[in-house]
């Protein structure tokens, strides 16, 4: 028997097509199977996504960064105590735990135009990489425009709808939550922004607007701030958010 040669991994003739898509095309093959190099690349991307899902928010670090905006920063929790509970009980992730609710209540916040909330969601990595930049941009622009701002709230194990309770306890006319999105293999660090006018418990997704894929390789944080501000202007002008408010509907409209 002759010596076994290394398996001839066949590359594909159409590798040039990779220029047109991020999809995993022209992977080549050994037999009918994916070559090891590609198999390990896939595993690595999945590892990044899983690590993102189980990444914990470094609350103190983020709190310090956000405090640079000049607003008080409060840290709260949802009723989902740990990650597995968060993943299985989205209803608990939408509710503030009792102590957190009391804490916000006791602030007895004066009425404010905008409440900014940051939550880990499904990717604390996304928040770590993108939140501070977007928050500081938003605070600057909102202040310049003369909006009043509620204290910033950081939420652990939070779902989108937790913004309703927080915005309402802080007496805010509009709430915005920046939250880690469900990570994909090619984007484990995407942050989403949801905006709700007149936040109050019991609202559903049809009363919010969303801007997604906020990250350097997607919608860059600087651009995201402008998009969010556009939506905020529209929301105040129309006094609503949700399905009746379309992005860009307010292009060119100046502050009232």
């Amino acid at each position: 028997m002759s010596e076994i040669r290394k398996a001839g991994v066949e590359s594909d003739e159409w590798e040039s097509l990779k220029a047109y898509t991020k999809a995993r095309i022209a992977l080549g093959r050994t037999g009918v199977s994916v070559p090891l190099r590609e198999s390990l690349q896939f595993k690595l991307a999945h590892a990044h996504a899983k690590d993102a899902v189980y990444s914990a928010l470094d609350v103190t670090d983020l709190q310090n960064q956000l405090a640079l905006c000049g607003l008080p920063v409060y840290c709260v929790r949802s009723r989902a105590i740990h990650r597995d509970m968060y993943l299985q009980r989205p209803d608990l992730g939408r509710l503030l735990d009792e102590r957190s609710a009391e804490q916000l209540q006791q602030l007895d916040s004066p009425a404010a135009d905008i409440s900014i909330i940051v939550a880990d969601g499904l990717s604390a990595s996304a928040i770590r990489q993108n939140a501070a930049q977007v928050v500081s941009g938003l605070v600057d622009k909102a202040k310049q425009a003369g909006f009043s701002l509620a204290p910033i709230v950081l939420v652990e194990q939070g779902r989108v709808a937790i913004m309703d309770a927080i915005g309402s306890l802080l007496n805010a006319r509009l709430a915005i939550i920046l939250i880690g999105e469900r990570p994909g293999l090619s984007s484990f660090d995407s942050m989403g922004a949801y905006i709700t006018y007149a936040p109050r418990p019991g609202l559903t997704d049809e009363s919010r607007n969303c801007i997604s894929n906020i990250r350097e390789q997607g919608l860059a944080p600087v651009l995201a701030v402008d998009k969010i501000m556009d939506l905020i202007w529209s929301a105040f002008r129309l006094q609503l958010t949700g399905v009746q408010l379309k992005a860009d509907s307010n292009a060119g409209i100046l502050p009232a």
Partner: protein
Amino acid sequence: MAYSCTIRGFTYRFDSLRELLAKASPLRSGDALAGLVADSYEERVAAQIALADVPLTAFLNEAVIPYETDEVTRLIVDTHDTTAFTIISHLTVGDLRDWLLSDEADTVTLQQLAPGLTPEMVAAVSKLMRNQDLILVAKKCEVVTRFRNTQGLRGHMAVRLQPNHPTDDAKGIAASIIDGLLYGSGDAMIGINPATDSPAATSRLLFMLEELRERFAIPTQSCVLSHVTTTLQLIEQQVPVDLVFQSIAGTEKANASFGINLALLQEAYEAGLSLQRGTLGSNLMYFETGQGSALSSNAHHGVDQQTCEVRAYAVARAYQPFLVNSVVGFIGPEYLFDGKQIIRAGLEDHFCAKVMGLPMGMDICYTNHAQADQDDMDTLLTLLGVAGVNFIMGIPGADDIMLNYQSTSFHDALYVRRVLGLRPAPEFEDWLLRQGIMDQQGNRLSGQAQKQLYAALVG
């Protein structure tokens, strides 16, 4: 009506068929979220023991969602084929399980029985089955459909080529289509999930697919998975629509949350038929389903997620679909927590749909926040291949860059065809041979021929 089971002197009572079905369900996170699961392992088995004794006729007398309030229930009741049901009308759910596994329940008998089974009967019997039971019975079923090729023949397994792109970029989509075709995928359909539901974007993609298919005389069909109302509009405007897509669920209220009802589906079905684009047959609806959709739209009426799912198959059955697809792990861990739950649900969905007479395929998939990985997908893929699944997904490298989830790849399809000796749809296989993409053995790739076809495709 109440049902009960006594174990070691303790009597478990179940107040309704709905409660009994839910508590007899294998554990899954969605039912826990809905507060419908058995309180203990013992109660779950007690429910299964009680369920086994329920006569099948009980399902005709006790609706899990009232007839008056739900059009899916009305569809199930009004279209029940009592003649087909006759051969099993004297059985209990437990008897049905044993009969389905017996040699008497052969392919032809199962095909004749299908319209006599209601979704609740089928859901019930699946809850008494182990995974191997679900596979063995599904394997005996054969559901064949035709449009421009033939799906579901025993010994064949097709692939839906899914070339999604986050911005619907035509070149990006075309690149993935070429990759898929050259790996022998695309016989079930070339089906794109569009990034937006805009009629203009959908139309552009449909024309592009039409041109590609005609230029290379590919015996397949295309689909852009826009909302059925968008598709209807496009059909009116003479856009080349092959398959008509819609996501469906098992309750009227959940369907309403998708913006559809049975009348709208009927309208879309008839509009699709009016185009007469099928060359071999006129099955043209393409439905997607998945456990948890009724719960996520708060429209489950206290019915467990698997029973809701099987009710969706009754909706699908009314429109003679070309293919039905359970997107099993897409909805997330709050409904199916881990690989074990996804695998079980996948086998249940495939079994239940096949027994009801549907051309079932599966998007064997998971999201990154579920406790699952590609090893779990390999397991489910292999099991479904053994069970005779009509088709699976083919996505470049199993990574969908638009929907952000993982499914099965072109390579995965070749793997399962090879280990199980499965072949593509016959008309498509002839095309692969003519193009020299594959040889007579059915799964070996020929580099030289691929190179030539690639040159033709991009030239």
